[in-house]
């Protein structure tokens, strides 16, 4: 069975999006939580 690259890579785009979104969520969220804290 043959398929073009876009079809084969389609689910991986969502996979990468999950990695990036959850990475950003972790660091932006923690920065927001701690930005007002005094050392």
């Amino acid at each position: 069975m043959q398929a073009d690259t876009a079809t084969l890579m389609y689910p991986w785009y969502f996979w990468w999006a999950m990695f990036i979104v959850l990475f950003l969520m972790t660091f932006i969220g923690t920065w927001l939580v701690t930005r007002g804290w005094k050392e």
Binding site: P11, W15, L22, T26, T30, W37
Partner: protein, 517 residues
């Protein structure tokens, strides 16, 4: 023999011996940490929470270990192996969406409320937050019920994988595992258990990362994986599988309802799990730098390793072994992860994987058992018989820890009762839905009342048990739809009942929400 795929690995003596040595090393280090923890407690209070001085590294590793069960380290790979990409949402791609907000929402507040109220367990914290001994008992009984049901299935994956890779009966290995867990929990109390869990968490994080990255590199890349999956079955590339039943657990893979429910489940479970919140009871007050270290540790252990375990690991195993694992009774897809580790890294990587799986299993079980034991000693015995001596309570703890470790072992060895198996499926969802509101929301919403919490606990418990029956026995409802019914009911009852009942005392609100830590 199918030459398109790798042959099923056969057990060798070297495989069995190295796995046995690996588990012995893991258990040996855990017991050593338990012995060291013995010096850290003198009273029953210290046995339950130590000196509240746990740093970010131990807390972060222990939190990850308590959250990541054997299922996360083994079952999740099996799901994606079975159904392809559509399985990754429920298998754990959303894990970080649960555990990182758990730190933001619950870490500081759990610690600060527990110190202000002098609480050593989550139910005691709730009893004092809501000014009600009745609620403390109800919360304790509910936690005990769900943690007990949830704990029964914890050893299953480890036992199955052990037998599959060594050929040795799992009874002896699992018995040794729970016996050693009992020793380090009894000796070390909260501190020793936390140290052992932290070691196990760090170990499973490193092993998971090695396995996931190694497999991805060895696979030939994303395009190669997709091409091989397409040759086997184009449906394995689908992000949703409408061809699968929309009732029972497969609703998570077959519909948008399932897709939307998965992040909600991970979010509420991580924040609501009492064995997760328990990690914050003995934590020190963190400054900004320590808080970042805590987040980074949890991100490193729960992020990359779990996201790869619940996506690429399963897909790559499918490309290597095809559908052959479905024919291996009774473990089937649960063998995906151990066979993948053997296929790419031989016996050394498989040994590391088996050790990681035991670490994940024992740490989650230990976290739950410690909470269950305290539910009885602190939240029932001490609450209603305050004159009970520390010595008696500690003896009770030794017995209860043994009991709550032994029963999951017994039911892994012998088949668990049918009714218990039915309820097991939704126990984690029930715990998350109930305690997300009753504990975490009560840290922020001053108007939360004991009656709002009480009816949330009652509804959540009944809905979970009835839901288990109609999802798994009657098979007339999807598990994801059940999550919305469970969560929606808990949300409405918690807020509406709280608003129409007498608010907490002004004195308590000032103490919790106005006074500095």
């Amino acid at each position: 023999m199918n030459t398109q795929f790798l042959p099923i690995p056969e057990i060798t003596l070297t495989m069995a011996i190295t796995s046995s040595i690996g588990i012995a090393v893991l258990l040996g280090i855990s017991i050593l940490l338990g012995i060291l923890g013995k010096k850290e407690w003198k009273s029953f209070d210290e046995y339950l929470v130590g000196k509240r001085d746990m740093g970010p590294i131990v807390t972060g590793c222990a939190l990850s270990a308590s959250y990541l069960s054997g299922w996360a380290f083994c079952g999740s790979t099996g799901i994606v192996y079975s159904v392809g990409f559509s399985g990754m949402w429920f298998a754990g791609m959303w894990s970080l969406f649960g555990v990182i907000p758990c730190i933001w929402v619950a870490s500081g507040k759990t610690r600060s409320f527990a110190v202000k109220l002098g609480a050593t367990t989550v139910p005691e914290l709730m009893g004092r937050r809501y000014e009600s001994k009745m609620l403390q008992t109800v919360v304790s009984a509910c936690m005990l019920l769900f943690l007990f049901i949830y704990s029964v299935g914890q050893l299953k994956a480890a036992g199955g994988v052990w037998y599959a890779v060594t050929g040795f009966p799992p009874v002896l290995c699992l018995f040794l595992g729970v016996f050693i867990a009992w020793i380090y929990m009894v000796l070390g109390g909260y501190v020793g258990t936390n140290w052992s869990m932290a070691f196990q968490g760090a170990f499973l994080g490193i092993t998971g990362a090695i396995l996931g990255i190694w497999a991805l590199v060895a696979s030939g890349g994303f395009l190669e994986i997709s091409s091989k999956l397409l040759q086997q079955d184009p449906k394995l590339l689908s992000l949703i599988r409408p061809d699968l039943p929309k009732v029972g657990p497969t609703e998570f893979f077959s519909s948008w309802v399932g897709l939307l429910a998965a992040p909600l489940i991970f979010f509420t479970m991580a924040i609501g799990f009492p064995h997760n919140l328990g990690r914050f009871l003995g934590m020190k007050k963190m400054n900004k730098k320590e808080y970042w270290v805590l987040v980074l540790i949890v991100w490193a252990i729960t992020g990359i390793p779990v996201m790869l375990a619940c996506s690429t690991n399963g897909l790559i195993t499918r490309t290597l072994f095809g559908p052959q694992l479905f024919k291996i009774e009774p473990w089937k897809a649960d063998l995906a992860a151990p066979f993948l580790s053997y296929a790419i890294g031989g016996i050394p990587l498989q040994t590391l994987y088996v050790m990681g799986l035991f670490a994940a299993t024992l740490s989650t079980l230990a976290g739950m058992v410690m909470i269950m034991s305290a539910n009885v000693t602190r939240d029932i015995i001490t609450l209603w018989r305050p004159s009970t001596t520390d010595k008696t309570l500690i003896r009770w703890s030794y017995f209860l820890i043994a009991l709550f470790l032994f029963l999951p072992f017994y039911w892994t060895w012998k088949r668990p009762p049918e009714l218990l198996s039915v309820f097991m499926g939704l126990a984690a969802m029930g715990l998350g839905a109930i305690f997300f509101f009753v504990t975490a929301m009560s840290f922020y919403w001053k108007r939360a009342t004991k009656w709002g919490a009480f009816w949330t606990v009652v509804y959540g418990t009944v809905a979970t048990l009835v839901g288990g029956y109609i999802v798994f026995t009657k098979k007339i409802l999807g598990m994801a739809t059940m999550e919305f019914i469970l969560l929606g009911g808990c949300l409405v009852l918690f807020f509406v009942v709280s608003l129409i009942t007498k608010p907490p005392s002004r004195e308590l609100i000032d103490k919790l929400f106005t006074e500095a830590d």
